[in-house]
């Protein structure tokens, strides 16, 4: 808000001042970056759970499901971002295009995690649950899924942290998130280098990744009380 005519320093360490001067915009970018990183992982997990279950339950579906999601994972993010609007008939500025593209990635990563997580449930455990009278669906939610939580959580950590970085790529094609700090800083780097927005963007991205990663770790602990009991 205040003109920083003389106060404007290009030093990398001035990212704090830069943040304070542009607080409301930067927090807006951080907020959109956060939900762009989180929502796709949650939606992706909701889609990946039944797919992973099918892949595990009907063995013949495992290879095709894994190769299709494997191919999806190799599509470069930038291509996916620009492809989603024309393919789905969305507006080019539709805020949904990035979450949809990222959901595709999250599903691609998490289907395998869910299937492997379910595979980590010992055969004896499932047999015992069946013997206790659990029906398949009940057994899935009450026995298999809780036991698979640590493996799934490990996958979620990778998905959420890499999403933070991929969302920033969407900033290079003009979508509103922390990636814009990089393009703006780059734009202002002629005639002289102007570091504050670039450094601020990196710092905020790293902080966001650390916070989201810790949240998953915490969630994993809460959901698997028996593991703590064993460890002590």
């Amino acid at each position: 808000m205040i003109a920083l005519a003389d106060g404007a320093s290009s030093s990398p360490l001035h990212f704090v001042e830069y943040f304070l001067d542009h607080r409301s915009e930067d927090l807006g970018l951080l907020w959109s970056h956060t939900w762009l990183s989180v929502v796709p992982v949650i939606v992706g997990l909701l889609i990946a759970l039944p797919l992973g279950w099918v892949a595990r339950r009907h063995r013949w579906t495992y290879p095709p499901i894994m190769s299709i999601t494997g191919v999806l994972y190799t599509i470069p993010s930038i291509a996916l971002f620009v492809l989603v609007p024309p393919l789905l008939g969305l507006d080019t500025l539709d805020p949904l295009q990035v979450p949809i593209a990222l959901t595709v990635y999250s599903v691609a990563l998490l289907v395998r995690v869910v299937a492997d997580g379910l595979a980590s449930v010992p055969e004896e455990t499932t047999q015992a649950a069946t013997a206790m009278g659990f029906r398949p669906l009940e057994r899935f939610f009450k026995v298999e899924l809780p036991i698979a939580v640590p493996v799934i959580a490990a996958g979620l950590r990778v998905a959420v942290v890499s999403n933070v970085s991929i969302v920033a790529v969407a900033g290079t094609i003009g979508l509103s998130n922390l990636g814009q700090l990089f393009t703006q800083g780059f734009q202002l780097s002629t005639p002289d280098a102007y570091y504050p927005p670039i450094v601020l963007g990196i710092v905020l991205c790293v902080l966001l990744a650390v916070v989201l990663d810790s949240a998953v770790v915490l969630l994993n602990r809460v959901l698997t009380p028996w593991r703590r009991a064993v460890r002590t």
Binding site: M1, I2, A3, L4, A5, A8, S10, D21, H22, D91, T92, L93, I173, G174, L175, S176, Q180, T183, Q184, F186, Q187, L188, S189, T190, P191, Y194
Partner: protein
Amino acid sequence: MNTRTLTTAAAAAVLALGVSACGSDSSDDSGSSSSSSGAGETIASQLIMGGPPEFKTRTDGLPGLKKNYGVEFGKYTVTDTGGPVTVNALKNGQIEAADLFTTDPSIAANDFVALEDPKNNFAAQDVLPIINEKKATDGVKTVLNGISAKLTTDGLGDLVSKVQVDKQDPDAVAKGWLSDNGLAGTGTSAKGTTLTVGSANFPENVVLAEIYAEALKAQGASITTKLNIGSREKYYPALKSGSLDLFPEYSGTILTYLDKNATATTPDDVYAALQKALPSNLVALEKSDAQDSDAIVVTKATADKYGLKTIADLAKPAN
């Protein structure tokens, strides 16, 4: 078995290094061959030109330079749209000619020479607001036309260098300009209108959008800004569909975007052609005198070496 394992692993590593080495060789080849190819040819054929990707196909891009001046560069490298990559590539010698914008403060800062364009290859580029017809009430029009009446090319240059060179906030620069030009007064002439103002992702366009936004806000309009949207390909569809209502544009560029075969070059012809080319839900309000057009820019050293003043000089034989 173990030794074989190691040997194979080592072989794979050597292979990877080999591939990378080959890769760099081949690219060096392509670089040197292009620079040495111009035996007895024009000046342009000895130069590498850099600019945005669409410059290769745009009517006023490489095809226009060839048609109007007979200029054909030795090679074209995609850099960016008059941004930091282009400026640095020109400054550091990765390219010898560049497509930059005339208000760019780096032209003066680096002693670059903008070549004259006597045949008007680049159409007039007057700054003007493009607005959703439904939002263009009389009050809104008065405010925006008042801004256009005061905006000049020099004034635009000042605005850009305040943001680009002095690193001031576009928002503050916009407010300062409005009060310097006696446009900062508050009122109610735009009351009741809700507008979303957008801008492309380069400083000049951001300041212009801020000027529109601040002036309308002062007149009681309720304003949302969506600044730093990427390129025209990204924001124009949003403007057309109504998710953006107001955008600072450049008459010639938006015309060629809408009509690839547009031939108008003078400010008035471009303006008239633009009004026809715009879809029925968008209108161009009054144009300002401020021009920011494309220019072929070279370094001072290159200009001196070949005696370059106009784009036409590039078509002269080398030596």
